[in-house]
């Protein structure tokens, strides 16, 4: 119970500080927006072309934006050595990860949902009929990105060249998520939409495996 209570207290802190500064959310939204707008200039998509290309483009934009968003996750805990204060205060260090990955998932999901209508209009892809399935894919993929990204952010924050290290570690590791979420989204944008359960299952398994690994080994990532 103390794990969940600590995680909830820390999640409250993460949300409060972000909504006070709005730095991460604003940066992420603007980045995704720029990528979507720039790509819309590079080709003039027919409806069929959009259905084929847009899902990959959308997930690439989400993935690159998430590497921006996850970068400060542990870096800003180093500013006043607040990570040490957290480690001294919580009974289980996993609570720190749990709060951060929950906050990251929430912010990433929020950015994705805010930009989805714009994406639908710009790329001429109807999303309303499959919105509930899209929400499921967005959630599972965002959770996976946040779990792996939060762990890697803890590692890279202690390294030299930390700003470069996170994307270098994160993007290859998250390639399976990119492929699976793109495939599922492509099937949902088809003229006759269908649910690709294999992809959804893969995303769920990825989340469970990485969350378990983080629970087992996360403590070592925080050690000095």
């Amino acid at each position: 119970m103390s794990l969940l209570r600590n995680a909830a207290v820390l999640l409250g802190k993460e949300l409060r500080t972000e909504f006070r500064s709005r730095e991460l959310l604003a940066t992420t939204i603007v980045f995704i927006l720029i990528v979507l707008v720039l790509f819309s200039f590079t080709f003039d998509p027919t409806s069929d072309e959009s259905r084929r290309l847009a899902p990959g483009l959308l997930w690439l934009a989400f993935l690159f934006a998430s590497s921006l968003m996850l970068q400060p996750c542990f870096l800003r805990e180093q500013h006043n050595d607040t990570l040490s204060a957290l480690r001294l205060s919580v009974s289980d260090p996993f609570a720190i990860f749990l709060a951060k990955l929950a906050a990251n998932t929430f912010f990433l999901l929020l950015a994705e949902l805010l930009l989805l209508p714009l994406f639908s209009v710009m790329y001429n892809v109807p999303v309303l009929p499959v919105l509930h399935w899209l929400l499921l894919v967005f959630f599972l993929a965002s959770l996976g990105i946040s779990i792996a990204g939060t762990a890697l952010s803890a590692i890279s924050a202690q390294a030299r060249m930390r700003e470069l290290l996170l994307p270098l570690l994160m993007l290859p590791l998250l390639t399976p998520i990119l492929v699976a979420s793109t495939e599922v989204t492509k099937a949902l944008f088809d003229r006759e939409p269908f649910v690709k359960w294999q992809g959804i299952g893969f995303l769920a398994v990825f989340d469970v495996v990485f969350l378990t690994a983080l629970w087992l080994f996360g403590e070592y990532l925080l050690e000095e």
Binding site: S2, K13, S21, N80, D81, T82, S84, A85, L88, E224
Partner: protein
């Protein structure tokens, strides 16, 4: 300051080594600190003071050796004990207010009635009127007061202070010395690293000098005590 709500606790470092890659930061450090002692750690930059304090705070795992907290009356190990730790950095969030910071850490430590405890501590460190101000708007002295209040939230029996007077003006140093005097007199065991002689070092009942990761001097007496603090030959 806060009346004692703890049993006196001592610390014992047994053959502690700490290695960072090829650098041996501490070598075979063995020290026994009695409950209620106020120990000043002296030594040049890089001598291992901070590493020793962070090991005592359990933030750093020693490469070799053990750290034992022992109760005064029983002599038994107290594994669940959490020392209060004040580091170089203030260890609180700039983007939260003084009150929000203390409430956050009080709730994480499952302190009963956190609002009352935080209110009392803010009063003790003289920040009641600025409780709703963001920490980033505070002076160095005020930031240090928040840091000390955070370290005292759970009424620790052991207090670890890593160069607590760094960056403080004379007024701030005087306040800090009085605060540490109150904590010492309440029976807490205090281990603090300092540079040179000051109002704060005069509170120490024992001085230990570290050099290149080893204990090179350890005394409780006047002249040697001073020489340890001033890095003169002991």
């Amino acid at each position: 300051m806060t009346p004692p709500a703890f049993s006196p606790v001592g610390l014992r470092f047994e053959n502690i080594d700490k290695r960072y890659g090829g650098l041996l930061a501490l070598r075979k450090v063995s020290l026994s600190i009695a409950p209620g002692e106020c120990v000043v750690l002296a030594g040049r930059n890089g001598s291992g003071k901070t590493t020793l304090l962070r090991i005592a705070a359990r933030l750093v795992r020693p490469s070799k050796g053990t750290l034992i907290f022992s109760g005064d009356s029983t002599g038994g190990e107290v594994d669940a004990l959490r020392p209060g730790f004040v580091a170089h950095s203030i260890m609180v969030y700039d983007e939260l207010t003084a009150e929000e910071n203390l409430l956050l850490f009080a709730r994480l430590q499952a302190i009963a009635r956190p609002e009352n405890r935080v209110g009392a501590l803010l009063q003790e460190v003289g920040l009641s009127e600025r409780r709703a101000s963001l920490v980033r708007t505070f002076s160095r002295g005020m930031r240090q007061r928040v840091a000390i209040a955070r370290a005292l939230l759970h009424e620790p029996a052991v207090l670890l202070l890593d160069e607590p007077a760094t960056g403080l003006d004379p007024q701030g140093t005087t306040w800090l010395a009085e605060a540490i005097r109150g904590l010492r007199d309440s029976g807490r065991t205090i281990l603090m690293s300092l540079h040179g002689e000051s109002d704060i070092s005069s509170l120490g009942t024992r001085a230990i000098r570290l050099d290149a990761g080893s204990v090179v001097a350890d005394t409780r007496t006047g002249a040697t005590f001073r020489s340890i603090l001033t890095f003169a030959d002991a």
